[in-house]
Symmetry: C2
Subunit: 460 residues, 2 copies
């Protein structure tokens, strides 16, 4: 079995396991108590905070431990927005933030605030100028991830932080995906992170609030973690989280070089091994261990099942793998193909043999799914029809794109195919398919009852 989904969560690092074991005996008591067991717990907590702060590059009293990365983001955003209530109620986020940030933004809007989503380019990156332009006089807070969780693209945090400083707006960085690789550059104001992303246990997040940043914790609070993270501290897990971060950092530079070699291999080889594939995300400014590609005419769930059967655990931003029918908001914001999406994120220690085996297995897995779905196998010569309408109503991703791909060869160059579809994913994948295949996307037209007519003109 090869686990290639480190971006979801890494198995417990051996150093974290040792630290956890040791502190189960020493760190179970209430660190707020005066007796021996409480004092021992407090010492462990203080030491873990120093180690964590050292890895983040902040002061220990700027860092509190939360119960998850999600909680760090929820509480960090709510506290920073409330602390800057007088400045206004405007929040800036990128369009490709983690759902924890976008859910916080949605909650802020429900409570009467306003939100601007800064768009990204086709690699998933925001432009520093576009980000700066979104800052307003009433902007209370800006949020930007250090690197994207689905496609690995690194964001220009230092430049955006500079623009935020100039505008007097605090910047909160979601560093969940990158903190294992190094501290976040730039003059940011708040930071959130999640320990199970770097081989710490689940149940531990970091929230960093730089001195001088206005911050007002929201909801009920207690006296724990400077009043910024309520509930009895899980000290054994906190100690393990800090130990794991220190351990992965010690190997980070060498491991980044090694894993970047492996993801470069995947980036280069997959388009040669599998037809109709789009590798997505920034080719250079990206996380070393993560690579994402989308396979046309494939549904993500079937492909993940095939890969799982072959011993590979990967994840997907395709709609077909989640309980909702909407495609990944990240791929949608990037305007890239979302169907048949595969995210490979290599845990530290992954060997080249594992990756070679994955590359051996992938083409057959994709071909098998395509065959079952009756996907087109080779481009035909131009047909003779001037136009053609395909009814794909009631069909789900990737069927509408498969039908389009099968119909287009039947029209002559310059002719049009209209695809009728009520699948929300088609709105992302049909334009993205056209971009990939160098065909012209003419546009959508509403037909009522949720049905949209997508018009495509054959160019080649």
């Amino acid at each position: 079995m090869s686990y290639f989904d480190a971006a979801s969560g890494a198995p417990l690092h051996p150093v974290a396991r040792q630290a956890l074991q040791a502190s189960l005996d020493e760190g179970w008591a209430d660190p707020g108590r005066l007796y021996r067991e409480g004092r021992r717990a407090r010492m462990l907590l203080d030491a873990a905070r120093e180690a964590a702060a050292d890895a983040v590059g902040c002061r220990p009293d700027e860092l509190v431990f939360t119960t998850s990365g999600t909680r760090a983001l929820y509480d960090g955003i709510a506290g920073a927005l409330a602390g800057r209530r007088r400045a206004g109620r405007h929040l800036v986020v990128s369009a490709v933030e983690h759902s924890a940030v976008l859910h916080s933004a949605a909650a802020h809007e429900r409570a009467g605030g306003t939100v601007t989503e800064v768009p990204v380019d086709r690699t998933g990156a925001v432009g520093p100028d576009a980000y700066a332009a979104a800052l307003r006089d009433d902007t209370a807070l800006a949020c930007l991830q250090s690197a994207n969780h689905e496609v690995g693209t690194e964001q220009p945090v230092a430049e955006v932080a500079e623009a935020c400083r100039a505008a007097g707006v605090p910047l909160l960085v979601d560093a969940a995906q990158s903190l294992a690789w190094g501290p976040v550059d730039g003059d940011w104001s708040l930071l959130g992170a999640s320990a199970h992303k770097w081989g710490g246990p689940a149940g531990v997040g970091f929230l960093v609030v730089r001195k001088g940043v206005r911050f007002a914790p929201q909801g009920p609070v207690d006296e724990r973690e400077s009043g910024r993270s309520a509930g009895f501290e899980n000290i054994p897990a906190i100690v393990a989280a800090a130990a794991a971060l220190r351990a992965v950092r010690a190997e980070a530079v060498a491991e980044a070089v090694r894993l970047r070699g492996l993801t470069d291999l995947i980036r280069a080889r997959v388009p040669r091994l599998v037809p109709d594939v789009e590798v997505v995300g920034a080719p250079e400014r990206r996380l070393p261990h993560l690579v994402t590609f989308s396979c046309l005419y494939v549904d993500g769930e079937s492909l993940l099942h095939e890969l799982d059967r072959a011993g590979f655990s990967v994840s997907s931003g395709s709609s077909c793998t989640s309980s909702t029918l909407t495609p990944s908001h990240v791929l949608k914001a990037m305007g890239v193909v979302s169907e048949g999406n595969v995210r490979v994120s290599l845990p530290p220690g992954t060997g080249v043999a594992d990756v070679e085996r994955f590359l051996d297995v992938l083409p057959g897995a994709v071909a098998g799914v395509r065959e079952k779905l009756g996907a087109p196998v080779a481009p035909d010569a131009p047909g003779t029809l001037a136009e053609l309408t395909v009814d794909a109503v009631g069909e789900r991703c990737p069927r509408p794109v498969i039908e389009l791909a099968k119909a287009l060869p039947r029209v002559r160059v310059g002719g049009e195919v209209t695809v009728l579809s009520d699948d929300e994913v088609a709105a992302v994948d049909i334009p993205a398919w056209c971009w990939t295949r160098k065909q012209e996307y003419v546009g959508p037209a509403e037909r009522g009852h949720g049905v949209v007519a997508y018009v495509v003109r054959r160019l080649v």
Copy 2:
């Protein structure tokens, strides 16, 4: 060393440790993923939920895992209040709830809601009739602990639940202190609990919402735990929490009988061994393992230090042991002495020899602290003065009571002593001292600048 503070948190149960170890290997992955590691994690999570629900006495789909007992209460109260928004914005709580409930109530008031605190009697119990009388047409939610965390008094949950049903108001029960001993009786609607109270790891709470209870999670939410508890599930800890609960329940009946014998011993012996002590909390309807007493003329912090040096870890509801200068809201609501307060809560397995050793050590520890503070040692014959004023302004607990106790013998029976004090604790402890010593508390009078004159008439 004897750890007698199980009510704060218990060391990890051996069964929990085994379960944690095993599930570190099997339960670290994202249970929302389709691949093998995700499916294994999901199976562990489902099994833990069934075990937990079985112990609580609810359906598995009524129970979600939270990141702490505090979080279960925060989110349970907020969600239930929002779900019943149309009924009104009135919240009923007892005056002796855990601070997590009272902090939630305070947040609700800040947001424009109203709160009624139901008072308790001298044993710390609410009266079912008084509780029922607090329910109004606009009451959205009522909260009651199953048993008090500071004095062990069991609350009449079943009777209060019945009154709430009759009034159409959901009752949320904070079962943190009692769930180890058995399920909560009665027809309650919501329940919160905390695993580290029963030997599970920190970082796991339960929130139970009965089917049919209106519930609207507040703030940002994600898809985890039915949308009721955000963030990546800490499955190894959850599995350990459920295993620990099952393990302590298997021994609960026998262990309750045994520990009740030991706490009965403390209840009976302490007043004979130590002069000027009040044992507080209900003598019969109480948790089996918990006993609380207050020692006059002693500050809690010094006493805890003495006991810690002698090898005993206990906690205190005295103001002197916390960073604030207000006494425990529980002891205050009960109207009992708060100074020199000691809570003994025995973990399962505590032996009679440990308790005997504690009873050997306690009298000397109390006497030592009293001697340092110059506390009165024996009652004097009635003096001759008609009245006497003692200036204790600037003195902190337990000084004002010590000064009162030293002054009272100097007046004749029927005479009065006035104590001037700016210590908030005196407002609790002087009346409580009078009650304990069968003297008459005439009342307080404001003197300005935070100074209050407490008037006491000598009766005996």
